[in-house]
């Protein structure tokens, strides 16, 4: 099993009966699967059971496009012993996905952090055998950087 670049396996999400089970099962297939209102299509928070827009119950989970942009981003310098494997500060970004959802994610691999507004694509890390979505600074952003 590959070892995650950032964190200890003990931080792997629980996937048995988890509210995000659909997300992790999708991630294992290389898909980002997120909840929408079955009636009005509003993107929902993972914990939402009833749509705050139209009031319909029962979200549907389905794959979304693997891209978005950075709503906000920080670089974490506190490297908690026993939990963080990286010896260097690491980025965490709140990503606005094209689907309308927002997820707080770290990067697929170590590297310079993106800036607010930068486009990112979504890839996956593997933490303790669980596929976890992560952002990748997209080709477009890299091109902008190198100009």
């Amino acid at each position: 099993m590959s070892v995650d670049w950032l964190l200890d396996d003990s931080l792997a999400p629980s996937i048995e009966d988890d509210v995000l089970g659909e997300l992790y099962r999708g991630a294992a297939r290389g898909e980002l699967v997120l909840p929408f209102c079955a009636t009005c299509e509003l993107p929902l928070e993972p914990e939402q059971l009833v749509c705050d827009g139209c009031g319909a119950a029962g979200p549907v989970w389905r794959p979304v496009p693997l891209h978005g942009h950075v709503h906000t981003v920080t670089v974490v310098h506190r490297l908690e012993r026993g939990l963080v494997r990286s010896t260097e500060p690491y980025p965490v970004a709140d990503v606005e996905l094209a689907s309308g959802h927002r997820l707080v994610l770290t990067a697929v691999a170590p590297g310079a952090p993106p800036s607010i507004g930068d486009p990112v694509s979504i890839g996956f890390r593997h933490l303790g055998g669980v596929a976890v979505p992560a952002f990748e600074v997209s080709v477009a952003a890299n091109a902008k950087e190198s100009r």
Partner: protein, 378 residues
């Protein structure tokens, strides 16, 4: 009309940044001190409301505290939980119960003991939160403890408002200036910008000195319609209920309405408030709340802090005990304790002359829950 319920007793333990004590032991100590301060005995208590930290340690206090404290025959006993807004909610609950005749003398207690011999508070928070749900995904993405979350908020806020990151430093220095006159504050040594910028980054832009200092400690108040003490003049609550979506902001209102409601009930305006005691777990929160509560125009919190208005001798004395940042982090009890100290005129060197009215602001979650309390001196 009967008198409005008042806070007739205040008790607290020493605030310790070293391991020691259990949350329940500390809670009992604070409760007994509050009763002694009010001149009451256990037998006078017929209501107990308990607030606790969110399970970062296994010895979280709950309704069992009634038994631990040797109380009996209560008419009101509840564990109140809306995160950092809990303390204000407890006082609101106590007041409602007294007004409704459910209880006559209600003790509200909060205790926390995040510091163990196994590690500091930062470590305790980094290790708590679990592996399930959205929080589980965030932790699996390196969001350990609450600092990265507020760092994300700070970065966004600075970008959207065009704010100066130096404002964070100003908030930290202002809090320390107040704390230097508060013997209970856990960080009292003088602080200047050089020392602030020498403080290690925890999560950009937040440094260690942008973060509150958790303590092992407890505080308790006695609320009753009989007896003397600062009166509860108004309470306002707002729970905007977070719905994170693309296109939305990382802050979503609610505080202004909570304060408007509290002031409305008290028949006051913002200008009538002599001291502001805000919930300040991170420097960025002070800036957000000054704008959210309407004490300045959007984007103007930084200049307001820089003007010195919040500092000792300023026109808007704020977090006069050093707040959670330099005073002690006991969640919602921190601003409540300081408000009572000021309104009783017991602030010593930090006493704001003539302080008769105080705002106690509580927030819970990530600015998810707002609770505002207006107190007026007896």
């Amino acid at each position: 009309m009967s008198r409005e319920p008042a806070v007739i007793g205040l008790g607290r333990t020493a605030m310790s940044i070293r391991p020691g004590g259990t949350a329940s032991g500390l809670a009992v100590e604070a409760l007994q001190a509050a009763l002694a301060d009010a001149g009451l005995s256990r037998a006078d208590v017929d209501g107990l409301l308990v607030g606790s930290s969110q399970g970062v340690r296994p010895d979280r206090v709950g309704v069992t505290l009634a038994q631990q404290a040797g109380l009996r025959d209560l008419r009101l006993l509840e564990h109140v939980e809306i995160k950092g807004a809990t303390t204000v909610a407890m006082l609101e609950r106590a007041r409602l119960a007294i007004r409704a005749g459910m209880a006559r003398t209600v003790v509200c207690v909060f205790a926390d003991a995040p510091i163990s011999s196994g590690g500091g508070a930062g470590s305790t928070y980094a290790r708590s939160g679990g592996n399930s749900g959205t929080r589980g995904l965030e932790r699996a993405s390196g969001v350990l403890g609450s600092v990265p979350t507020y760092a994300l908020l700070a970065q966004r806020w600075l970008a959207v408002t065009g704010g100066d990151p130096g404002s964070l430093c100003e908030v930290a220095l202002t809090a320390r200036a107040w704390a230097s006159h508060n013997p209970e504050a856990v960080q009292r040594e003088p602080l200047d910008a050089e020392a602030y910028y020498a403080s290690p980054l925890v999560s950009t832009p937040l440094r260690r000195l942008d973060c509150a200092r958790p303590v092992n400690g407890a505080a308790a108040v006695v609320v009753s319609a009989a007896g003397e003490g600062p009166r509860i003049r108004g309470v306002g609550r707002d729970h905007p209920v977070r719905r994170r979506r693309a296109g939305g902001e990382s802050w979503f209102g609610g505080g202004r309405r909570a304060l408007d409601d509290a002031l409305g009930e008290a028949g006051m305006t913002r200008g009538d408030l002599d001291v502001l005691e805000l919930y300040d777990p991170f420097t960025i929160v002070t800036l957000c709340l000054l704008e959210e509560y309407g004490f300045c125009e959007p984007g103007k919190a930084g200049p307001l802090v820089s003007s010195g208005a919040l500092a000792p001798g300023g026109t808007l004395p704020t977090n006069t005990g050093g707040g959670q940042l330099s005073g002690f982090y006991l969640q919602g009890m921190t601003p409540l304790v300081e408000a009572i100290v000021q309104l009783r005129g017991e602030g010593g060197e930090r006493q704001v002359p003539g302080a008769r009215t105080a705002l106690v602001g509580g927030i819970g979650g990530r600015l998810d829950h707002h609770a505002c309390l207006i107190l007026e001196a007896a």
